[in-house]
């Protein structure tokens, strides 16, 4: 009995020791990440000529499958020797696996641009498209501001100018929807010209016993509201510096404090739906469509649904500035596509990206509820879609499309979401909230 016990203990000890020592002795090879080769910055070739012969491109994406199918069909018609194979993933799956997918040997040729792409671009896992920007003259077809969102904060080694890591198909933008019937009931006669006027309208709606503003703060509706106010108060360049991680940038500014205070004040005055913090964005949209609130903060992605349900009863305006003469500034991004540096067909991928900038593609994008990069090339939309197109046109003209604040760091989305929830419930001081954001920012941009 004693002997077996000893043997058992000895075996157990050996196994444990082996398990501990094995990985440690081979430390170098086992350092996490050592298997992924870092190709370093790489760009597309200077030639745009697509080689002869049949080519298949694999395209992985997470948004608007119907639009992608239609785009592919139209592209293949014009390029019979290139076929594009779409691989759809749900958004959360896509984002979570993005880094693994793009660093694997089986990376797709083309992939939808998402938050993690900045790191991938820095390590050379996606191609710098700057040479094609010049060769295809994309600046003519796409507002430069939309391309400048896709530089990953880098300079192109190939052209010396700004790098480019994606080409946008549909563009997006946030703003305020309003229910025309309810607005009239509250004595509101049209979109406000200034933030102060908007506040008066919210108060008027409250006095008329209506819920003034629908916010879906359970997920990202709250941060859209905060960012919309911040856009009006903080100089756009400072905001860009912060989101892009420029050295020395900070969100702890008086303007940001004021914006955060406004979110608190509006909550205290009862301007939001009672359960804003427990309502998802989709649900806040559905409630607005039912007539539960006069205004709604959301993005153009909700327009299709609202136009279908509410018809002419819904309108849209970008958050107005402090003065009527202020430029239109709104947060927005794009459904964009990047090219893997592992692709064997960069020229064919370039041809596909160039197709996205054509009027034909623009019409497909517009038909699917997104804003095409080049609005002049498509049929004029109607109703609320026309309001959005007009708002976007003004913002682009004023160089006022900014990215969403969560692009500042991978963990920023969670900080923003929970922070704005606290602002809405008046549970945090604006300075503490901004401090938590800046902490996260500094941690990410420390390297």
């Amino acid at each position: 009995m004693e002997r077996t016990h000893r043997v058992r203990r000895r075996v157990a000890a050996t196994v444990c020791a082996a398990a501990l020592v094995l990985p440690l002795t081979a430390c170098d090879a086992l350092t996490p990440g050592s298997a992924a080769a870092v190709p370093g910055p790489r760009s597309v070739p200077s030639s745009t000529a697509v080689p002869d012969g049949d080519t298949t491109l694999r395209l992985q994406f997470a948004d608007a499958p119907l639009m992608v199918d239609a785009l592919i069909a139209a592209f293949e018609k014009g390029h019979p020797n290139i076929s594009v194979e779409p691989q759809y993933k749900t958004f959360s799956d896509y984002v979570q696996n993005l880094k693994l997918t793009m660093t694997s040997d089986t990376a797709p040729d083309i992939a939808q641009y998402a938050v993690g792409m900045t790191d991938l671009a820095a390590d050379g896992h996606i191609l710098d498209l700057a040479p094609y920007r010049e060769a295809y003259d994309w600046d003519k077809a796409i507002p430069p501001v939309s391309l400048d969102q896709l530089t990953a904060g880098q300079t192109s080694e190939a052209t010396g100018g700004r790098a480019l890591f994606g080409v946008p198909a549909g563009l997006s933008m946030t703003g305020i929807y309003y229910n025309k019937e309810l607005a009239k009931k509250a004595g509101i006669d049209g979109p406000p010209k200034t933030v102060a006027e908007f506040e008066d309208q919210l108060a008027a709606a409250k006095n008329a016993d209506l819920t003034p503003l629908g916010v879906g703060a359970l997920d990202s509706g709250g941060l859209h509201l905060w960012a919309a106010l911040l856009n009006q108060l903080m100089p756009t360049d400072d905001y860009w510096d912060w989101v892009n991680g420029t050295k020395g940038a900070t969100i702890e500014t008086p303007a940001a404090v004021t914006a955060s205070k406004m979110v608190i004040d509006w909550g205290r005055k009862g301007y939001y739906n009672d359960s804003a913090n427990g309502t998802a964005q989709v649900d806040s949209t559905a409630q607005f469509a039912k007539g539960d609130s006069v205004f709604l903060i959301n993005g153009n992605w909700a327009a299709g649904q609202l136009a279908t349900v509410m018809g002419d009863n819904v309108g849209f305006f970008p958050m107005p500035g402090e003065k009527a003469s202020a430029p239109t500034v709104a947060s927005g991004f794009s459904v964009s596509y990047a090219v893997s540096s592992r692709t064997e067909h960069p020229e064919a991928a370039g041809a596909f990206l160039d197709f996205l900038t054509t009027p034909e593609a623009g019409q497909i994008i517009s038909d699917n509820g997104f804003m095409p990069p080049n609005p002049d090339a498509v049929k004029k939309p109607e109703g609320v879609l026309a309001d959005i197109a007009e708002g976007h046109r003004r913002a682009v003209a004023d160089d006022g499309i900014t990215t969403f604040p969560d692009f500042a760091a991978p963990a920023m989305l969670d900080r923003l979401r929970s922070g704005v929830q606290k602002l809405i419930a008046n549970r945090i001081d604006p300075s503490d909230y901004l401090d938590s954001l800046q902490d996260e920012w500094e941690e990410h941009h420390a390297e």
Partner: protein, 314 residues
């Protein structure tokens, strides 16, 4: 009740096992390693799929790694960060509050239901068991989505309050700073009460019916009978239920992720959710691994404590 199997079976079995043991003494002495050979297949699988990944996690926790590029060795730095981060500490506290709802209340409810259902065997017992077991069969994500609707603005919970005139109580339960954690906890109570009841009911069936008969002859009422006969016999099952439900509370993820995603603020943030977020969306794999190791140790410690307590009592 007369159809139950004879009660004398346990002693029989015991006699036979001793015989087997006596017989097997001789060959085992000749080859002390023989036992390990039998264990080897199971051990190999366990080692590859449970021990090795756990060790790998512990190893990763010593690096600062974004999941893609080369990691940096930081030693115990990640652990230091865990104990300094207020959100991480907050999440552990939330998990401990959830233990009340996932473990304590379900066990009390399970015991109460066992007391009601076990005393007499009536036709239709199977139907009850099926109903109370149902929450266990439904995937937790579906449970979460359903409860999100129930707790919603116009959900059944608020409708019920309005119907009885308690309009002042209604709120968006999952978005309310005071109510969110309790609301999430009650979902856990709903899911796990059935499991506890099932465990206890099966435990009660082993109790010798003559004990109940004796208690009744001595004039014990239903409460006395429950306390003096049923409860002591369920000690093992209670320990199992406590272990399973406590682990479910401390390692909870799916219900929280689907209903509140940790909000509002950090009111319902639990360690499991943070491990997931850190590893998959924030690119801090090392920190996530360190948190997972700490969480694992905490769970092992508490489970050890539960087992120790239930053993020393007997």
């Amino acid at each position: 009740m007369p159809s139950r199997p004879p009660v004398q079976q346990p002693p029989d079995v015991r006699v036979r096992t001793t015989e087997v043991r006596v017989q097997s003494q001789a060959p085992r002495r000749r080859s002390p390693y023989r036992g390990y050979v039998y264990v080897l297949p199971a051990f190999a699988i366990y080692f590859c799929f449970a021990v090795l990944p756990a060790l790998h996690t512990a190893y990763l926790s010593l690096f600062e790694w974004d999941g893609v590029t080369l990691g940096d060795w930081v030693g115990l730095g990640n652990y230091q960060e865990i104990f300094q981060d207020s959100i991480l500490r907050r999440s552990v506290l939330n998990a401990l509050v959830l233990v009340v709802f996932f473990s304590f209340i379900p066990i009390v409810v399970g015991l109460a239901m066992t007391g009601l259902l076990a005393r007499f065997r009536r036709p239709g017992m199977g139907a009850y068991r099926f109903l109370f077991m149902l929450p266990q069969v439904v995937p937790l994500v579906a449970v979460g989505v359903t409860w999100r609707w129930l707790y919603g603005d116009d959900g059944l919970v608020n409708q019920t309050f309005r119907a009885v005139g308690l309009d002042g109580v209604t709120r968006a339960w999952l978005g309310d700073f005071g109510a969110a954690l309790i609301a999430v906890g009650l979902v856990g109570t709903w899911v796990l009460s059935g499991l506890c009841m099932m465990l206890f009911l099966s435990g009660v069936q082993k109790v010798d019916p003559s004990l109940y008969e004796a208690a009744r002859l001595d004039g014990a009422g239903p409460v006395r009978e429950f306390v003096s006969v049923t409860l002591p016999h369920l000690r093992g099952e209670i320990a199992v239920a406590m272990t399973v439900t406590t682990v479910a509370a401390l390692a909870s993820f799916d219900i929280v992720y689907v209903t509140t995603n940790g909000g509002p603020g950090e009111q319902t943030t639990v360690p499991g959710l943070l491990v997931y977020r850190l590893a998959f969306s924030e690119g801090k794999v090392g920190l996530a691994a360190a948190l997972a190791v700490v969480l694992g140790c905490l769970i092992l410690g508490i489970v050890y404590l539960i087992n120790r307590l239930s053993r020393s009592e007997s």
